[in-house]
Amino acid sequence: MLRWIAILLLFPWAAQSETVVAGLSQNRVSITANFDGSEILIFGAVKREAPDGLDLPIDVIIAVEGPSEPVMVRRKEKWFGIWVNRDAVEVDSAPSFYKVATTGRFDEVLSETEDLRHNVSIERAIRRVDAPQGIMDAERFTEALIRIRKRERVYQERPYTVILSERTLFRSSVALPANLTEGNYKVRIFLTREGNVIDAHETKIYVRKVGLERFLYNLSREQPLLYGIMSLAIAIAAGWLASAVFRYVRS
């Protein structure tokens, strides 16, 4: 972190009056067979051209977003006495993971108009274009999606978890869970004052399966037949081995 400050002091860019610079403790996460989550430290500083003298408080928002994909949300209804999936709404794009950390209460650090512009809140990170005909309460389905994912702790709003010191240095950490999907995780950092975004910075965390996980996953998609035969071969070998060991133990 000291290095960042040194850089800031040495190179005063002549762009905006206040800009944000940031770094991550690691920008690559490898999913190995014994992967059980990872904690990433996000840190940075607010760079000022000259002392602003205004002394107005600033806020920092850090949003970490997993790869998005369409999700089908289904609702159960009672049908002939049993609970069955009936109505379904497709949410066109929902991140697999979304955590937003702020220095204060979310509605205080970011105004609604700025949220609309930058899509920062969880509600704004999810995109649903239109609902199928005949479903009047489509927003209930998006609410359910957020509720379920919040319960699974893959969506989180964490106010007061970005620590800002001297209106300059900030840091926060984000825990990536063990049930992580592959992809590029987008990290967005916003600098705000009185709810307005002053500057933004974007970087990425690359989450990849490696080693055996990578090999098995690729094989199952690229050579499904070979993968299936391999699974069977393992099963047959294990079955034979078990019977052989059993006989040996008995004799």
Binding site: V71, M72, V73, R75, N85, I148, P177, N179, M230
Partner: protein, 305 residues
């Protein structure tokens, strides 16, 4: 020790999987069934996606059935001819089952179908087995009242008769083909070997002698579940090899322990115990279907995948 499953994309405790494999292995060793009907719901319960659980369970059954078959081959209690006829029906059934599974997965009703199949079949088989073994125990109290066995029924009137020497039967190939077909469909949809349906069907419907039933059932289950595994691997990409291996290891060890426990119990007691377990699983699943769930909404992959 947490382990990340490459296909299921969830992280689970490896010892939990070994333990589950072992527990179901003990039961399968005791009762001579694959144990898939217990394992699949247990996998749902620990958070494995249903599609992956069903496909991977089929793969695990291949291993346990093969191990069991080897033992039966030594004792010459496998009717290959009957097994092959059942198998032909079974393969056709499995192909149909996987297609049904893929189609229902697209409409989001796969969960319901799997659960309904479980409730219906576990309920019927469990109840029949319970009543039958209760009667058997009662009969033991009254010596001399041997069970009467129907020699001829409508099954013997069907055309296309064939000799099954090991089973000592001369019957039409149509009933075994149909039994095989139905079990094949169920194997693909429920992720089970179908032993718990096949065994009673062979004894009560086809009239096969009990001693060749288990071996013959295992013989055809290997091929049907093997085929199911391949179909799931190529159409749904849902076979998780890491998960299968962990379950296998536990299952194989458990089966050995189970066989030893099984030897010490009487056949009727075993059947009653199995019937109670089957009914218990059935009751739990039925309860979930009938009672309003806490969360009415569920998430799934969008169609076209």
């Amino acid at each position: 020790m947490q382990i990340y499953l490459p296909i299921a994309e969830v992280s689970v405790n490896a010892f939990l999987l070994l333990g589950l494999g072992g527990l179901v292995g003990i039961l399968s060793g005791m009762f001579g069934v694959g144990g898939g009907f217990l394992m699949t719901p247990l996998l749902f319960f620990i958070g494995i996606p249903p599609a992956v659980a069903v496909a991977t369970e089929a793969n695990q059954i291949v291993a346990s059935s093969f191990s069991g078959l080897l033992a039966h081959l030594k004792r010459k209690t496998v009717d290959f001819r009957m097994g092959t006829v059942l198998l032909i029906g079974g393969l056709v059934g499995a192909a149909i089952g996987v297609q049904v599974f893929a189609a229902l997965r697209a409409v989001g009703q796969v969960d319901l179908l799997v659960r309904l199949c479980y409730v219906v079949f576990l309920g019927i088989i469990g109840a029949l087995m319970f009543v039958e073994s209760l009667n058997a125990i009662r009969r033991m109290g009254k010596p001399g009242a041997a069970p009467k066995r129907k020699k001829h029924n409508w099954i013997h009137a069907l055309p296309g008769k064939m000799k099954f020497r090991t089973s000592g039967l001369y019957i039409s190939v149509i009933p075994p083909l149909i039994v095989g077909l139905l079990v094949g469909v169920l194997a693909a949809i429920m992720g089970v070997g179908g032993g718990f349906i096949m065994v009673p069907a062979m004894i009560y419907l086809l009239g096969m002698p009990t001693k060749v039933v288990v071996g013959t059932s295992l013989f055809q289950i290997i091929f049907v579940t093997g085929f199911t595994t391949l179909m799931h691997a190529t159409t749904n990409y849902t076979v998780d090899m890491a998960l299968a291996v962990l379950l296998l290891v536990g299952g194989v060890v458990g089966a050995q322990i189970g066989t030893r426990i099984g030897v010490r119990l009487k056949a009727e007691q075993l059947r009653i115990l199995l019937a109670l377990i089957v009914l218990g699983v059935c009751g739990k699943l039925a309860f979930d279907l009938l009672v309003q769930p806490n969360e009415l909404y569920s998430l799934g992959a969008a169609g076209g995948h």
